[in-house]
């Protein structure tokens, strides 16, 4: 017994030793900056404090309190939720749809289409935005020309505060669905063809095969894609940044929490306040992730 336990202790020590470099790196490059940022969020560290640290004052939870009273923050949070709630499902269903199409036996040149659908993912966002700005142009834009064909009046996509966020959702979904599509294709490929054959022999139609075989076997992939998309979309930044020239306009309609944080921190150098936004965003993402996991786990069971 004793020998066994001492062996165990030795093994534990060896294990600790083995993970120590990793832990050290994590502590140095993750934990330390996080703690520093947390402390920073409790001060009014700003441009003046960069020059003279004595100009920084401890403000306790002041930054957080001010944030809760800032209508612009709520606007940014609302915009971000809008993006996640509409953009997330849209992107995931586009990806799934594209993956199912590509995986179909009748599709010719799947490699070619996979490359085409994946191309937006690896295209520079700045270039993409320049093109989409033309597509969205109220008078010369292709999108309005298409809508006009059906007799729908011109929409000022990027100028109308009501349409600016949907416009960003649309562009982001187009830009990002390819990445998830690849993951879904891999997930679909992992489903053994024999299952479908057996189902077909048993007389299951295509809808039944999809519901009884594809959906349950794809569930883990679905969970992964759903989570990563949600987390990524909560951090929405680059799309509104490039489409609105870094401002989040019109009338803050495309201001996301991350863009708001960036403006506070690197435009106005209100670093303390920016740090508090980062922690609020972290809390929101954590809550949303836990909720989503619970919902999807519940759905599985």
């Amino acid at each position: 017994m004793r020998r066994l336990s001492s062996w165990r202790a030795r093994e534990a020590r060896a294990g600790l030793l083995l993970v120590a470099p990793g832990l050290l790196l994590l502590a140095l490059f993750l934990a330390l900056p996080v703690v520093a940022a947390l402390l920073l969020s409790l001060t009014d560290f700003d441009l003046y404090a960069i020059g003279d640290p004595s100009a920084a004052r401890a403000v306790g939870l002041g930054n957080y309190a001010r944030l809760l009273h800032d209508p612009v923050f709520w606007k940014a949070l609302g915009n971000t939720f809008f993006f996640v709630v509409f953009g997330g499902p849209l992107t995931v269903s586009l990806s799934l749809g594209a993956a199912l199409l590509l995986n179909h036996r009748l599709v010719r040149f799947p490699g070619l289409f996979r490359t085409i659908y994946f191309a937006p993912v690896v295209t520079t966002l700045v270039a993409v935005a320049a093109v989409w700005r033309y597509l969205y142009h109220p008078r010369f834009g292709l999108l309005n020309a298409a809508l006009g064909f059906f007799g729908i009046g011109p929409v000022d996509w990027l100028g109308d505060p009501h349409w600016a966020m949907p416009a960003i959702v649309l562009m982001a979904a187009w830009k990002n669905f390819g990445a998830n599509m690849i993951i879904f294709v891999a997930g679909l490929k992992a489903i053994p063809e024999s299952l479908y054959e057996a189902a077909r022999i048993d007389g299951a139609g295509p809808i039944q095969r999809f519901r009884k075989i594809t959906v349950p076997l794809l569930a883990p992939t679905f969970l992964f894609v759903g989570l990563t998309t949600t987390i990524g979309y909560f951090q929405l930044f680059a799309e509104p940044y490039v489409l609105s020239g870094g401002e989040g306009g019109p009338m803050n309609a495309t201001l996301s929490v991350a863009l708001f944080m960036y403006k506070q921190g690197f435009r106005w150098w209100s670093i303390g306040s920016a740090a508090s936004i980062a922690f609020v965003l972290f809390a929101v993402i954590l809550a949303a992730t836990l909720l989503q996991r619970r919902l999807q786990k519940g759905g599985e069971a």
């Binding site: 960069i50 700005r133 142009h137 109220p138 834009g141 505060p161 489409l243 020239g245 401002e247 435009r267």
Partner: protein, 426 residues
């Protein structure tokens, strides 16, 4: 305001070898196109001062502001740099730039009297000089002469009321979708320029509080908002204008309040058939005030950093770039307007009907408030005015809110000033 022209040409800015080498180079940071062009001037400077080596590091405009502050924090600032003149208060708050009064007083090359007073003034904080103007920038009206003439406007208006009447005439003749003036809703320079012309102080009480409810600002805001309300200017953000020059050429807008960089752009981008049909004019003045209306003092200065160990050499760079001959050359190379009046005797500048209005306007410019918070305040100005321009909010409520915003932004400044005052009389 932002020139992306050279923005994508990333300079390998920070990583460059610093010192160490034989004959230490003076490091000069310049932004965007200026950074490209100033390189061509360096050989002459080095020829004149044997032993002086200048290393130009070009930084894209979009990254410049952030780069300066991060370089300050990382103690990696160069010896001498171009500095947008609205950034000088920030850099002074950090105590990063060297006062230049003594050097200017002893200099034969830099003659304060030869500069536009309003521009020079942007470099003076609490009576101390921190920068020497390099090139200048202000806002005035670019317009299509053919469209105005067709609408019966022969001479460019000199008062706000005549200006409005001209826009009305253009809009009436052009029909729906055609506007007298393009006035992007997400730029602060235009409403602030109008306010400055109306005599608004913008901030009050030693820049401790906002003064946006003052009658002068209100008058300008009323005029500004009225242009959208009455359909004379489209309520568009500049991001909604996909191609400004195409739309100018199509006649969507007859006038546009903008800066000197568009002299070159209009020349390059408007079709050849329209090259005889556009020009510039100084800003009209509010009724009852002398013409031309006051505009904003913009542009870039040259500053020497306190951290530099080669300040004398750095100053030689400033002096060289300030000489009228170099200023002329610089204008020829990139079209930036010279800061020195004597450089304006260059025939091509003096006789060009499109630059002459700039020469006149530059005599009538004023600095925006010289506090580090100004850009943040300026962003609030358009953010607050935008809903009014789009017709969803009432002006008076917005001006009250704007003053509250600005007071909150200036809270730290008030605290620092109080602390300083308390330290002063212990």
């Amino acid at each position: 305001m932002r020139r992306f022209a050279a923005g994508l040409l990333l300079a390998a800015a920070t990583a460059c070898a610093r010192g160490g080498e034989r004959g230490e180079a003076v490091r000069l940071w310049a932004f965007g196109r200026e950074g490209e062009v100033v390189r061509e001037l360096v050989p002459e400077l080095e020829k004149r001062h044997p032993g002086l080596r200048v290393e130009v590091q070009q930084i894209p405009w979009t990254a410049a502001h952030e780069k300066l502050l991060t370089a300050y924090v990382g103690r990696e600032l160069p010896d001498v740099a171009q500095m947008g003149n609205t950034w000088i208060p920030e850099m002074t708050a950090l105590d990063a730039i060297e006062p230049l009064d003594a050097r200017v007083a002893a200099s034969a090359a830099v003659q304060p009297g030869d500069y536009f007073p309003g521009i020079w003034e942007t470099n003076v904080l609490d009576g101390t000089l921190y920068g020497v103007p390099w090139y200048v920038d202000t806002r005035l009206v670019f317009y299509r002469t053919d469209l105005l003439a067709a609408a019966g406007v022969r001479d460019f208006p000199k008062s706000w009321s005549a200006w409005r009447a001209a826009m009305e005439a253009v809009a009436r003749r052009g029909g729906p979708g055609r506007f007298g003036l393009l006035l992007p809703t997400n730029e602060w320079a235009q409403p602030v320029a109008l306010a400055v012309a109306a005599g608004a102080e913008l901030l009050s009480d030693g820049a401790r509080h906002g003064a946006f409810r003052a009658p002068e600002f209100r008058r300008a805001a009323e005029f500004f908002v009225g242009l959208y309300r009455d359909g004379l200017a489209p309520p568009l953000a500049n991001t909604q204008v996909a191609n400004l020059y195409q739309q100018m050429a199509a006649g969507d807008f007859a006038m546009y309040v903008t800066g000197p960089w568009n002299l070159g752009e209009f020349r390059r981008r408007l079709p050849a058939s329209l090259q005889g049909s556009w020009t510039t004019a100084p800003l009209p003045a509010p009724d009852g005030m002398p013409w031309p209306g006051v505009s904003l003092a913009g542009g870039s200065s040259l500053v020497v950093f306190r951290s530099s160990s080669r300040k004398d050499d750095a100053w030689k760079v400033v002096e060289f770039l300030s000489e009228p001959a170099t200023q002329k050359r610089f204008w020829q190379l990139c079209g930036d307007l010279p800061a020195r009046r004597s450089a304006w005797d260059e025939p091509a500048l003096a006789t060009d009907a499109r630059t002459a209005p700039f020469r006149l306007q530059l005599e009538h410019v004023r600095a925006t408030p010289k506090v580090p918070e100004w850009e943040q305040i300026a962003a609030k100005v358009w953010e607050r005015l935008e809903p009014v321009a789009r017709g969803t909010r009432d002006l008076d409520a917005v001006l009250t809110a704007l003053d509250a915003d600005v007071d909150a932004i200036l809270a730290k400044r008030r605290w620092l000033l109080e602390r300083k005052a308390a330290e002063g009389k212990p």
